[in-house]
């Protein structure tokens, strides 16, 4: 498997590492205790009660303020669909004047029944499902021309208000990137406490391990921003200018 460039390169490193191993004046650092030390199992992720999950949602809302992520909680998906409808009507396209929506082919997003909900507004919704390369160009173009992209997320991290998205067939990474407005819809149960919990789950949960990280695992923490001109914060440098998170709380 290893190519000639790799063999020569690694041989050189091995020589560099072993040539001076004795009497190194720089302490090698303490051995990293991954088993019992820094990566202990996070406490009771799965067995969290509703109260605990709602307090994680409160934390998401609190963290969302400074990064300009707009979070709303909804009892059911009908209420989410109405919220998206209002947003679609009130927002204007950034490029051109055509209004169209690209959405993930995902059970939760499908359940919103958006083509029906947006029908009378005249705003079309497409779910990019790509089965062959010919579709790809067409679907790409649809996403490029959409002013709103709607996705779900695999998880949301409470302590930084971060969305965690894997990429799968029909769940393109460009839907959360290219349109000017990104809408994400999740269920309350998908909120985790922290990055530590997330990596632990990705590393230990049998389903997650089985699926792997997918070609691109993306974290999104608020809308795109830059401060490159005189440190003035501007949203919408390259990615979405606005990000909305709808959380279905149930009951």
């Amino acid at each position: 498997m290893a190519s000639a460039d790799q063999r020569a390169f690694l041989h050189n490193l091995r020589r560099a590492l072993t040539g001076n191993a004795v009497n190194a004046p720089v302490p090698a650092g303490d051995p990293v205790d991954r088993q019992a030390g820094i990566y202990q199992r996070p406490t009771r992720v799965e067995s969290r009660g509703r109260e605990e999950r709602l307090s994680l949602l409160d934390q998401v809302i609190e963290e969302s303020g400074p990064i300009n992520l707009k979070v709303t909680a909804h009892k059911d998906i009908q209420s989410v669909a109405m919220g998206i409808r209002r947003l679609a009507v009130e927002s204007q396209p950034e490029w051109g004047d055509k209004k169209q929506v690209a959405a993930w082919n995902h059970p939760l997003i499908k359940a919103l029944n958006l083509p029906e909900v947006l029908k009378e507004t005249g705003i079309p919704v497409e779910f990019p499902i790509q089965t062959h390369a010919g579709d790809r160009e067409k679907q790409r173009q649809w996403i490029f021309d959409a002013y709103i992209g709607i996705t779900s997320a695999d998880f949301c991290l409470a302590d930084s208000a971060t969305l965690v998205l894997k990429t799968r067939a029909g769940q393109d990474r460009s839907v959360s990137l290219v349109p000017s407005i990104h809408v994400a819809v999740i269920r309350l149960e998908q909120i985790l406490g922290s990055l530590k919990e997330l990596y632990f789950i990705l590393d230990n949960d049998p389903e997650q391990v089985q699926e792997g990280l997918t070609p691109c695992l993306t974290f999104i923490t608020g809308p795109s921003k830059t401060a490159d001109i005189e440190a003035t914060m501007v949203h919408g440098a390259h990615g979405p200018r606005e990000v909305y998170l709808f959380v279905v709380t149930g009951e």
């Binding site: 690694l10 070609p215 005189e230 003035t232």
Partner: protein, 482 residues
């Protein structure tokens, strides 16, 4: 941009006299320097997490050979291609080869210091390929034909009026100095470029051996664009940027984002592990990873400097350094500026050549306290100075000044003998009376010490030495109490 650390003093002098730059640097350090310190304090584990991060990094560096092997194997298993480049020329040649084989005409780039290091843009331009920087700051300096002056805020030296004039001249817009309007102009211009590009280039904040993925962090979303839209994505990675296990990323990413911009997490963190596949068509058709040595294995081979490979290029040290805060990034004359540049640049391009860089730092230690992985930069700055003072065969350093060395040896001889020391002090006390003074301070010293008094006055030697005072005052009070 060609490296020119030889111009350190001249560039620094210009920088210190530039009021716009001085204001920008002070603002930057005030914001990020304090912000980062506060962000470390607010870590759930407390600021000592930096020490754990140091252990994680050092552990990875000590096993770099096997981890890179593991990374390459897993990256290929995920469908990517890996190339190990010995030096800049090698890396550039691989990039050009892939570009030419795939008929690439237009390239979009995410911010990457390692591509600055290997001067990839020049090579692409020479090959007739348009390579466009897409980070707003990098885009600005590319339009202005300058080099970055900060690792994270590359256009910090430009005022909004500068940017307004630049955009008017280069992009043909009506003049404005409103940052949101200027950002929109760049957003629109670059969006079209992203959609039309054949290849996206990016750096790599960290790669993970266990999973075979690379991680990139950005606030603007340009790296996501460059890694998602073009049909080829090529990643350039300094060989040291590796994490052994997926869970190591928790601590490393949290510290990286706090060090870089006092954020809990950057807006976008992508873990990229493979190209598009038949059942997942979004993303590039080809994914390439170029792992670069370019002098790093020399640091690895020297236990004195191995620690420098822990660096994750967050620029936290720039944001607290009193020297960087005055002279700005261009003075360092290479891709890497500030304290990290003062150590890395000499090690990469030659210690003699970049001698001014390590001599210019103050050894105050602020950089180590700001470092998310707690690298002992002052220790390595001192070691570089020692190599310059004494010469060093392994690093091919020639002694910077034999006169200076002789003078210190002479001084050491005088210091070691009570009688010669007293004589020297008496002589100096006499001689200093001949020098001009101002409010009790010496205005000028004679050559070769005149450099010291170019911009400051010197405290004269006291009329009475401590030894004399002690002799006169210890009578009747053995404890020396007044």
């Amino acid at each position: 941009m060609k490296p020119n650390p030889e111009q350190y003093t001249a560039t620094a002098r210009t920088a210190v006299a530039d009021p716009v730059l001085q204001k920008a640097l002070a603002g930057l350090q005030d914001r990020f320097g304090r912000g980062t310190a506060l962000a470390y304090q607010q870590l759930p584990e407390g600021p000592d997490l930096r020490h754990v991060a140091h252990d994680i990094r050092m552990d990875a560096i000590q096993h770099l050979d096997s981890l890179l092997d593991e990374l390459a194997g897993n990256f290929r298993k995920n469908g990517g291609q890996v190339y190990f480049a010995q030096d800049a020329k090698d890396a550039v040649a691989y990039c050009l080869k892939v570009a030419q084989e795939n008929n690439v005409k237009r390239v979009v780039k995410g911010k990457s210091m390692v591509t600055e290091e290997i001067r990839l843009n020049d090579a692409l331009a020479d090959a007739g390929i348009e390579a466009l920087e897409t980070d707003l700051g990098e885009y600005i300096i590319q339009l202005a034909n300058e080099g970055p002056s900060h690792l994270i805020a590359p256009a910090v030296h430009k005022s909004k009026e500068d940017v307004g004039r630049l955009f008017t001249e280069k992009l043909g817009i009506d003049y404005t100095d409103d940052p949101p309007s200027l950002t929109r102009v760049a957003r629109k211009a670059l969006r079209e470029k992203f959609l039309a590009a054949d290849m996206g280039l990016s750096g790599c904040n960290l790669a993970c051996a266990e999973t075979g993925h690379i991680t990139t962090v950005s606030n603007e979303g340009n790296i996501r664009m460059a890694s998602t839209l073009p049909r080829i994505h090529m990643v350039f990675m300094g060989m040291e940027r590796i994490a052994a296990r997926l869970q190591d990323l928790d601590i490393l990413l949290r510290l990286l984002c706090r060090g870089a911009a006092a954020q809990k997490l950057g807006t976008y963190v992508s873990h990229i592990s493979g190209p598009a596949s038949p059942d997942n068509l979004d993303g590039p058709e080809q994914l390439h990873l170029v792992i670069l040595d370019n002098g790093r294995s020399k640091m690895l081979a020297d236990p004195d400097f191995r620690e420098m490979l822990c660096c994750i290029r967050c620029a936290a040290c720039l944001n607290v350094c009193p020297v960087y805060g005055k002279i700005g990034g261009h003075s360092y004359g290479f891709a890497y500026s500030g304290p990290v540049g003062a150590v890395v640049t000499p090690l990469l391009i030659g210690i003699n050549r970049a001698a001014d860089l390590c001599q210019g730092e103050t050894l105050c230690g602020a950089c180590q306290n700001a470092c998310p992985v707690n690298i002992d930069l002052p220790r390595m700055l001192l070691l570089l100075r020692a190599k310059l003072a004494d010469g060093d065969e392994k690093w091919q350093v020639s002694r910077r000044s034999s006169l200076e060395k002789a003078a210190y040896q002479f001084w050491a001889r005088i210091m070691q003998n009570r009688r010669t020391y007293d004589l020297a002090v008496d002589a100096a006390q006499l001689l200093q009376r001949l020098l001009p003074t101002n409010r009790g301070m010496l205005r000028f010293l004679p050559p070769p010490f005149n450099g010291w008094t170019k911009s400051r006055d010197m405290q004269p030697l006291a009329a009475e030495t401590f030894a004399q005072w002690w002799k006169a005052n210890q009578k009747g009070d053995a404890h020396g109490k007044r």
